[in-house]
């Protein structure tokens, strides 16, 4: 389909003899919320890294907004409209929350290097614009009062939120969230999931969400892709995927799979 913002065609990642991801296909339409699930070690993060340019795919191609991004450096891929968070939080720890977000605004908001050195008016206008954007994003993510706090001093749940705010600062068309709810309790997770839903509506981004807890993504994803051992074993609407015997097997083993999943959903 031509309307896709992000398309991966038969992306394969091999590390030496290990195939971490094999023939991964995805097509993300604008404003779509897609969940990428699978047990630990299924290749979800590898898929993310291949999409965001951290790895160059061994085979296949990644197309972002009509441009083939294979082999581009991550910052170039980011400029084409993809931004991500990390499974193990990677904030700029010693900088303030505001600076964390402003750095993401840099790529689209900066002027020539000599401008700030000479103190021109263009530079001040740009700085003002970036700061306004960053403060608004912090506000949306519920970090409005903590703009000056050092990132490393924020509580864990807020660090996760700050990472999302930072990713949004890059003005992406596709937002990739790598286990954003990891380490959160049930209430925090529920709040975060509804927030992700709101973000999608408010900023009009397509969201690709990695999660290994199936129950979580079921609620908000419009479509699911299930990976196991690097292979896509199922994809489609959440209710269909849930009933897919292959998925149940991957998650729960063969015996009693159905019962466990049904009771969990109930």
């Amino acid at each position: 389909m031509s309307g896709a913002v992000l398309r991966a065609e038969d992306v394969t990642m091999r590390f030496g003899g290990l195939t971490a991801l094999s023939k991964f296909n995805i097509e993300l339409r604008p404003k779509e919320l897609v969940g990428l699930i699978g047990p630990n070690g299924a290749g979800k993060t590898t898929a993310f890294n291949a999409l965001s340019g951290v790895y160059a795919p061994t085979e296949g191609s990644v197309i972002l907004g009509g441009v083939r991004v294979n082999g581009l450096r991550p910052h170039q891929v980011c400029a084409l409209g993809i931004a991500r968070t990390f499974q193990n939080i990677r904030l700029f720890k010693n900088l303030s929350a505001l600076d964390n977000v402003r750095i993401a605004c840099h790529a689209r908001g900066h002027g020539p290097l000599w401008e700030p050195l000479l103190g021109t008016s263009g530079h001040e206008v740009r700085e003002g614009r970036m700061e306004a954007t960053a403060r608004e994003l912090l506000e949306v993510m519920g970090l409005g009062d903590l703009a000056d706090a050092q990132a490393k001093n924020l509580p864990y749940g807020l660090q996760r939120r700050l990472e999302i705010a930072r990713a949004l600062g890059a003005e992406p068309k596709v937002l990739c969230l790598d286990e954003p709810a990891a380490g959160m309790n049930a209430t925090e997770t529920a709040a975060l999931m509804s927030l992700i839903h709101d973000i999608r509506d408010r900023f009009g981004v397509a969201v690709l969400l990695i999660e290994h807890d199936m129950k979580l993504v079921m609620g908000i994803s419009e479509r699911l892709i299930v990976l196991d051992h690097g292979v896509t074993i199922s994809s489609g609407k959440p209710e269909d995927v849930r009933k897919d015997p292959k998925v149940i097997e991957a998650y729960l083993g063969v015996e009693d799979g159905h019962k466990a999943l049904d009771s969990e959903a109930a």
């Binding site: 980011c78 990677r90 750095i103």
Partner: protein, 319 residues
Amino acid sequence: MRALRSLAPFLLGAPVFWLVQCYAPPTLAIVLLMAGVNVILAVSLNMVNGFTGQFSLGHAGFMAIGAYTTAKITLALGDPAGGVPPWLWSNGVFLLALLAGMGLSALMGLMVGVPSLRLRGDYLAIVTLGFNEIIRVLIENVRWLGGATGISGVPPYTTLVWVGLAALATVVTAQRLLCSTHGRAMLSVREDEVAAEAMGVDTVGYKVRAFALSAAFAGLGGGLLGHYILLVTPKSFTFVKSIEVVVMVVLGGMGSISGATLAAVLLTGALELMRGLDQYRMVMYSLLLVVLMLARPTGLFGTREIWEFWGAKKKKAAA
């Protein structure tokens, strides 16, 4: 109005430096001058080691390029021509020569930076150290540059006003850079390169830019130093000089501009005060460094600036 504001530090600084130059006792003037040159070196190295978190050990190499370029030009254009008054001619030529030295240094910074900045940490340190030695050995073997004896008879153009303004220019540049989006991009490289890259920061590009800018000011420092000691020799630019500058940056706190400035002034002053100790001077100097690093392992100010401590104190007092 805006031009006035961006030039304000220099318009205010120039008369102050001029007064100091006129009325300071000669010994104090010498210390101040050396301190000024060291401020230039420390603050400029801080752009690489402090802002982007890369470890460069080649600062003296860039100083050498600046010093030799500047000296060659001022020697070639020594005599006033076309009825220009001598003071105007000499200062004009000096400015031109310093700018050329900065330019050539920056160019060398780019040339070293582009291939080697894909390396990290210790590996980059070794490459920059190697570059430093290459420059020195190259100069020693080029007769046009005076070989091992260097260039003597360099005109005494460096004054306290020159050094003061140059130091001010370095600090103002570093400060304006740090407060801008470009400076923050450099800091993000120091904090987390993978995340910075994923957020759209051209990490290699910013490392190279920091390197070139830092090299330019190192060249400025080298040029000023050469026209003060009136002699430019390869011996002044060994890696020991590079390490001296690294010590100032580490002592001041990586990334802190005021820290690097203060450390440069303190160390210059301390060395001068210990002159009476004769052969024990360097022992005391080393001891001072050890004690300071034990007392403040992250440097005098850490990554913060001096005024941030003022703010913290005020907040505490208010609470």
